[in-house]
Structure formats: C-alpha cells, structure tokens
Symmetry: C2
Subunit: 236 residues, 2 copies
DNA sequence: AAGTGGTCTAGACCACCGA
DNA sequence: CGGTGGTCTAGACCACTTG
C-alpha cells in the first residue's frame, strides 16, 4: 500500500471520516429518509479503506439512529427523528444529591390507609381497600425541595413499611406524568410555600408483573426546581 | 483452526457472547463501578476469539454506558447509572398533532425587537441588540394549548421572519428546562386562563456552531397539559 | 519492557435479496 | 448470478501507561 499503515497523526480516524461523509450527505439534505447510502463496497473504493473500516462506519451510524440496514439490499437513511420531541429529565432529588447537596428526609406520614376511589382506580382495586401510605419531605441543603406521597400495594411489597422512599420498590416499568398545579394547603405548608405558588406535580406509577405496585405523587416547588435536559440533532 | 469459521447457526455471534459475559459480571454484582474488567487480551484467551472481536465487545459496551476505557490502563465498570432518573417527555404539541388533533396557529406578534437584558444575556449579546421576536398561540381542537415566545438571532437565521414556529431553525444542540410558574397577565389571557392558574414553563435554547441562535419560551396551561413518559428498569 | 487500548488491513465464509 | 450486509480472523503499527 502507498498509504500510511494507520491514520496520520492529528487527523480523524478513517472510520470517522467515512462516518462524517455519510452523515454529511444526510445532514446537508442530499439524502433523505429512505434513500440508499453508499454500500460498504462503494465506501471501500471511495476512501481506499478496508471493508471492516467501512463496515464500522455504517454500523455505528446505524446504532446512532441515522441509518437502517437490510441484509441483501443495502443501507438507507432512517425516517426523520422528530427533533426535540423527547426531553430527558433527570430526577431532581437524585440530581441534587449527585451534585453533592446535603439530603435530609423527614417522615410526615406512614402507615396503613384505606384507598380513596381515585387511588384505588389506579391500582385496579375497589375504594376502601387497605394500602400502605407514606408521605415524606426531602430537603436538600436544608430547603424543602420535594414532598413525596406514596401508596403501596402491600401484597406486592410486603416490607413496604420499612421501605425508605426514593429507594424504589422492585418494578419492571415506570410511568411518569408531569403537570403544573397549585398545591393543596397541606402540601404548600410542608414546602413552606405561600398559597398561590405554582408547583410541578410529578406522578410515578411502578408496575410489576403487569400490576401497579406503587403510586407516588411528587410535589416540587416551581420556583425552586428547574428540570433540564439536552438533546442533539442534526441541522435540518 | 478447530473452531467453525463463523458462529454456529442459531447461536449468538461471538462478540455478543463476549458482551454477555462482561455484562453478566456487572449485572450480577461481581464487578462494581470502578472495577477493572478483563482486558481484550484476556478475553481473546478466554473465548478463543480474535482481538477485533473482543475489541468490538468492549467498544460496544462502552458506547452503551457500561464501561469506560483508559488507554494504557484498562477497561473499567462505569459509575452506576441511577435507575429511573431519566424521564422522557414528548413534545406536547407534536404529540397532540400526532394523535390526530386539529392544529391551529395564530401569530400574536412578529417582527424585530430589541433584546432586554435577560434575553441578551442568553445570546451572549448586549442589551438592546436587535433580534427577531415572534409569539404564537397553538390551538389543538380549538383549545389554546401553548403560547410560544421566540427570540431569534437574525445573523444565524436570515429567513427567520418567514419561519413558522415549531419548525426548528437548524441547530446542533437543544437545551431544555422545565418549571412551574404563574403566567403573566398577557400569557394568561392568551391561554384563556384565570389569573392564579399554574402553568408549565418550558424553555428551549437552540445552538448552532457553539452560539445560541434561538431562545423560546413555551407556556402550557397546567390543568390542560400533562407530560407523560415511560421508562423500563430491571427489578433491583 | 510489558501491558493496555485505538486503529487498520486483506482476506474469508455466510445468509439473504433481486434479477 | 452478483450485490448486499453480518461476522470473523490473524496479523499489524501506534500512543499511552506502569513498573
């Protein structure tokens, strides 16, 4: 070969240059969803690289969601990912703790309770069924940041009374929802909020074996908590 | 070689078996965060595979967040990813449209405007710089669901005045934040809300070439919008 | 010096697809 | 049949780390 045995220093690796080339075809709009991208063999000829290198480039672009591949047919531009339709939101308490904040937990309520109709419906039970209920307040660096109100199905979490909150009960799936709401007076008081302050209300339903095993409401003061996330997307 | 030239039919590829082995060491707790995993050379000897196969296994596990690697030192178990800390939030408008809702868009404001200090700071400019500003109201099935207030850097988006909102300006990165807030009177009016109603306030900063090119505020009525997401996690 | 990962090659066999 | 991707090998050179 008349080419250096490996990539020249200071330059991007060969597989990265191949990736950039194909990503550029897509990013500049020269290839759109469903269009065929150059085959491994064509990239081998174009870049004078081995097939393993071309394969790695297309394989990684596939893993990153740019392409899909059909053996025997070719590699194609993947359907447009709707940009920014997905926000990744870190758990605020775990986040605060990870940043080194001092975390305190106070139990406001803990014990058996009869489920009101609205809660019973979530568990698929009839109103009045006995559940375990707990309410905890989390402080980070002394400030109340979160009130957690949790209902637990005793049958699926026999040791629930001893369970600490935010240590999740075993689960297979978590469903979340998030909305803005004005807190009821007891929540506002627990968070040291003036009445009329907006809160984020996050709910979390944990499922195990197809059944709801815990339902939690998280109240977060709207002016003290900001959820953030970052996503990347090609210029379009 | 006394081994079949390629993986036997019906069995997982060799690189996958190596991945499974290493992931199993982590998943069963035999190796914890910071622990060293077998080197490529050790996996070559253990599985009788080529180094490229062992390399692919460890490289993919690294891309998937299981490991981190230090050239010259070894491969190590990555710090524990806190389970269920990531919440995926769909874009509410795109979501409503995807569900088949009838979408209407009204322009409440559009034209050049001087940036107040708070906005200028986001763009890294001085207060009073001329930006393009637009405000739009989105209705889904006739109900106001979103007021979008957008500031655009004209230099990076020359055709911004013609741009429709929610059609993103080209960008490389989006930063989002989400919090609860009480809307100012003009926003409350545009959403047909009583004063004192809680709203979700989402902000989106789009960056291109390392510079902020658009900044948007999205006001969503807290009682009409619920953001939802699902995540799966192993029982722990 | 010995071990690590990072990259690359020039072949190979296979299954699958469409003409 | 030829083209596609999926996998695999047995080497190689390099930069980097630790002793």
């Amino acid at each position: 070969m008349d080419r250096p045995p490996v990539s020249s220093p200071g330059e991007a690796p060969l597989y990265q240059r191949v990736k950039d080339h194909v990503a550029g075809l897509i990013g500049r709009g020269q290839l759109g969803p469903g269009d065929r991208v150059p085959s491994e063999h064509e990239l081998v000829a174009l870049f004078r690289v081995s097939r393993m290198t071309a394969n790695r480039a297309l394989r990684e672009l596939t893993a990153e969601g740019w392409l899909f591949r059909i053996p025997g047919l070719g590699s194609f531009v993947a359907p447009q990912r709707a940009p920014a339709t997905i926000l990744e939101i870190p758990d605020p308490v775990a986040d605060a703790i990870a940043r080194g904040g001092r975390h305190q937990l106070e139990t406001l309520l803990a014990g058996p309770a009869r489920a009101p109709a609205s809660i019973a419906a979530i568990f698929g039970l009839t109103a009045g069924t006995a559940l375990f209920r707990g309410r905890w307040r989390h402080r980070v660096d002394g400030r109340p940041l979160l009130v957690e109100d949790r209902w637990i199905l005793p049958a699926l979490a026999p040791d629930a009374p001893q369970a600490t909150p935010s240590v999740l009960v075993p689960h297979e799936q978590l469903d979340h929802s998030l909305r803005a709401s004005l807190p009821p007076p007891d929540i506002a008081g627990a968070l040291s909020l003036e009445s009329g302050s907006a809160c984020l209300l996050m709910t979390r339903t944990a499922r195990l074996g197809g059944r709801t095993c815990t339902f939690s409401e998280f109240w977060l003061p709207g002016d003290r908590i900001t959820l953030t996330g970052t996503s990347r997307s090609a210029a379009q």
